[in-house]
């Protein structure tokens, strides 16, 4: 989201809240989210992909809804109306090609109308086939989840991304040999995939409420949270969406405050820190251990202010629209141990991984025919979860090592907590020592996390090792 996106979204949300209130709220959110998705999608070297990728996002969302929704609900008239509105919106975006030689809403000129109509027909055909020949049963939903994960891997693994780009280039008649991993910039796919997988898995487990197509689209593509989260849960989102709007002054006041704080965090603090934060370019240039630490601290603070700033902006805009998005950050750098850090850093992501990976894996290991020792289970689940979170950022050794760093850190901290448990009474009887210990623990935790960012920020483990050695005077 650029500053311009945020200003326009803010103006739209403000006008909608002050003048329209509940009138057509669902439709306004739907139209706003779909159009915002096309508008935010950046240009790519791949011809017309800034139109087709958002269209595919929309199609995947519709397909997922078809898979999670019982036939009786699918056949309701309002779902067809929503389908028609979606098609009209896509067609409307495509027709902007006649308003100028360059993109009006999209980054570049949309494709020809005939191609768009064919694309829409294909989406309708697939949706009909999915509805006609599948039932919301385990196997189909598993295939859908695996497909989304597969697509995710393709986008995050540079080797596969190059092949994907080459395929898209071949389809659009562009030079295949010029394909690179940087060609494909699919805005928001990661977060959309998380939301889709959440609904597909919860449908499998029978925990998902029935939802209309309009509500589902609004949940998955909700424009304030589309590109950078937070990852809300469907049932929580629906509660706000279906409720009457609350006190307008309260929502505007609180939302405005979050918006201003978010803008300051992102565009003043984070963007300033970015000028001297650790990165691939400056890794070999820094002379002196002290300055190397400055760059590492700058990166640690930049990534926090950047991400939490975006979250504040999303929460503020959401509040203006009557949706209370979940919190994502709660002073994570002020926590005294790694577990608490992860309970307060990108909270909706960690909750997602806890719900769909950590807990099922723990259950599965504990209930296995030959159960593993508890310590081994803790080690495997914590390291596994953190490595997976690392891989979500990109498939590369640097992210694996970052995941390992945190997984092992969590394991060691878990063992330390167990060791300390019988000694806590002694410590609690000495409040000064306990307070000093908490300060020391907070400082240590922050530094462990900050040093972990060295793996994350640099493209190769060799670079990271060089920096880590330099930090200790090497």
């Amino acid at each position: 989201m650029t500053l311009m996106h945020i200003l326009v979204f803010g103006a739209v949300a403000l006008v909608a809240r002050l003048f329209l209130r509940e009138i057509g709220r669902g439709w306004l959110l739907l139209a706003g989210s779909v159009l915002a998705m096309y508008w935010m999608q950046p240009a790519m070297p791949l011809r017309e992909m800034d139109f087709w990728l958002p269209t595919v996002t929309l199609a995947l969302t519709v397909f997922s809804w078809v898979l999670i929704t019982p036939e009786t609900v699918r056949q309701e008239r309002k779902q067809w109306v929503t389908g028609g509105v979606l098609a009209a919106l896509v067609l409307g975006v495509a027709l902007t090609r006649y308003l100028g030689a360059t993109g009006v809403l999209t980054a570049t000129r949309p494709p020809q109308t005939g191609a768009v109509l064919m694309g829409l027909a294909l989406v309708v055909g697939i949706a009909w086939l999915l509805g006609r020949f599948t039932r919301p049963a385990g196997r189909v939903l598993t295939v859908a989840v695996v497909t989304l994960i597969g697509l995710f891997v393709v986008l995050k693994w540079p080797l596969l991304t190059v092949w994907f780009s080459a395929g898209l280039r071949w389809l659009s008649g562009q030079a295949v040999e010029r394909a690179t991993a940087l060609d494909v910039r699919w805005l928001g796919f990661s977060y959309v995939a998380f939301r889709l997988i959440h609904t597909l898995r919860d449908r499998q487990n029978g925990r998902l409420p029935t939802v209309s197509l309009q509500e589902y689209i609004n949940y998955v593509l909700f424009f304030p949270a589309f590109s950078a989260g937070p990852i809300d849960r469907l049932e929580r989102f629906l509660k706000d969406l279906r409720a009457l709007l609350g006190d307008v002054a309260e929502d505007l006041g609180m939302g405005g405050k979050r918006l201003v704080v978010g803008l300051f965090k992102k565009f003043v603090i984070a963007d300033s820190l970015a000028l001297f934060a650790l990165g691939p370019q400056n890794v070999g240039q820094v002379t002196g251990t002290g300055w190397q630490w400055v760059l590492v601290y700058a990166y640690a603070l930049q990534i926090f202010f950047d991400f939490s700033g975006y979250t504040d902006i999303a929460i503020g805009l959401g509040r203006w629209l009557g949706i209370r998005l979940p919190e994502n950050f709660n002073a994570p750098y002020l926590k005294p141990n790694l577990t608490q850090f992860w309970n307060n850093w990108h909270m909706t992501l960690t909750q997602w991984f806890r719900a769909y990976f950590f807990n099922p894996l723990t259950r599965s290991l504990r209930t296995a025919r030959k159960p593993l020792p508890a310590t081994v289970v803790i080690l495997l689940t914590q390291v596994g979860t953190m490595v997976l979170i690392g891989l979500w950022h990109g498939i590369g050794w640097n992210f694996v090592l970052w995941g390992l760093w945190h997984g092992l850190g969590l394991f060691v901290q878990n063992r330390w907590t167990e060791w300390m448990r019988p000694r806590m009474a002694w410590l609690e009887a000495r409040p000064r020592i306990a307070a000093g210990g908490r300060v020391l623990a907070t400082v240590l935790t922050f530094h462990y996390v900050a040093l972990g960012w060295v793996w994350f920020a640099l493209p190769t483990p060799t670079d990271s090792l060089t920096v880590l050695l330099r930090l200790v005077g090497g």
Binding site: F276, N282, W291
Partner: protein, 368 residues
């Protein structure tokens, strides 16, 4: 919280914003406000900030001369009693395009460690700036005088002299007040750029200048951490040796350079600005090509007739004004020029520095 309360908050915020902008606009302009993180938190820079690729050079081009000067090592506290301070002003050749700070003329002269008979250490400071305009040089000279130089060396070349070049430098264009002051005080034949409007003087109107000032401080961290203040490309396009058979210089075709179109008045003004501080003028080295059409031109910039005439005029003017003058136009061989007819390699600078050093030493002893 009520809508009325929110409305009042918004109205009060707007009121404060407008009031702040008005106060900002009527306060004295940016000139003279010298806050800087350099010297205190960050080490001073070796040369004036300039850079078109800030993310690689950890440097940027800005127009706030006070902020630029305050970022220099020169601005670090008071001048030590045992220092003989020499500042060098000039264009990109003095600033040191493609050169590390220690490879520039100021850097190499400083490394020699000259000491005057009275025990004072001669220290050289680089105040070159990469645009060709004597007006821009005057602005820098004027700003430099606040730092108590004992000697000013002004390196010039013909391309800085034509009248139409004077206000082309963004530094001159964006400092109308300074230029107007020079025009008024020294009766310069320049039509100064228009003064900023009231709107341009408000906080909103000054947002670019303020942001640049802030970014200069932030890039200072990377300067301090890396010692890099310029983007050093692995390769560059060498200055042309084979030249066009074109004998024109700007709009003139010879046989002589119109003296009235050259900004020689700048030297008189420079002498007045320097006051009691000696000002030495040096005609900086240029590439003397031996390639195609070199009988017509010395290099990309200069046809032979124009440059020869300029050298003669400059020498006469310096004698007339009474400024010590060194003509170093051909002291560096062709091979030691890099990406321009005035940019030198480190070895070329060394050769030039040796000539300068000998001349300076003679001058210093003669004027002690």
């Amino acid at each position: 919280m009520s809508l009325k309360f929110l409305r009042n908050v918004v109205l009060k915020a707007l009121g404060l914003f407008v009031a702040f902008n008005l106060v900002f606009a009527v306060l004295p302009p940016m000139e003279g406000r010298r806050w800087s993180l350099y010297q205190g938190v960050l080490p001073g820079r070796e040369r004036l900030p300039f850079g078109e690729t800030p993310q690689r050079s950890y440097n940027l081009s800005l127009y706030d001369l006070d902020a630029m000067m305050a970022s220099l090592r020169l601005a670090n506290g008071h001048k030590p009693a045992d220092e003989f301070r020499v500042v060098l002003i000039g264009d990109s050749a003095t600033w040191g395009t493609l050169l590390r700070p220690q490879e520039t003329l100021a850097g190499q002269l400083d490394a020699v460690g000259l000491q005057l008979p009275d025990g004072r250490q001669v220290r050289f400071y680089n105040l070159g700036y990469p645009t060709m305009s004597l007006t821009k040089d005057l602005m820098i000279l004027d700003a430099a005088m606040a730092y108590e130089p004992d000697l000013v060396i002004w390196l010039v070349t013909l391309e800085s002299l034509p009248g139409d070049k004077q206000l082309e430098s963004p530094l001159a264009q964006n400092n109308a007040q300074r230029v107007q002051r020079f025009v008024r005080m020294y009766d310069l034949p320049l039509s100064a750029p228009p003064m900023p409007t009231f709107w341009q003087r408000t906080w909103v109107g000054q947002r670019r200048a303020l942001a640049d000032r802030l970014r200069l401080q932030l890039y200072g961290v990377m300067w301090a951490a890396t010692g890099i203040d310029q983007d050093y490309p692995e390769t560059f396009t060498p200055a042309a040796r084979n030249l066009e058979a074109d004998a024109s210089f700007h709009q003139w075709t010879g046989p002589s350079l119109p003296e009235e179109a050259m900004f020689y008045e700048a030297f008189k003004a420079g002498k007045q600005i320097a006051g009691n501080v000696p000002l030495l003028v040096v005609n900086e080295p240029i590439l003397v090509s031996k390639g195609q059409n070199s009988e017509v031109r010395y290099n990309f910039y200069y046809p032979r007739w124009a440059y020869d005439d300029y050298r003669q005029q400059l020498e006469e003017k310096m004698n007339e004004i009474g400024l010590p003058y060194l003509d170093a136009w051909n002291v560096v061989p062709e091979a030691e020029f890099t990406n321009s007819a005035v940019h030198l390699s480190p070895r070329g600078v060394k050769q030039f520095a040796e000539v300068m050093q000998a001349w300076l030493w003679d001058w210093m002893l003669a004027n002690e």
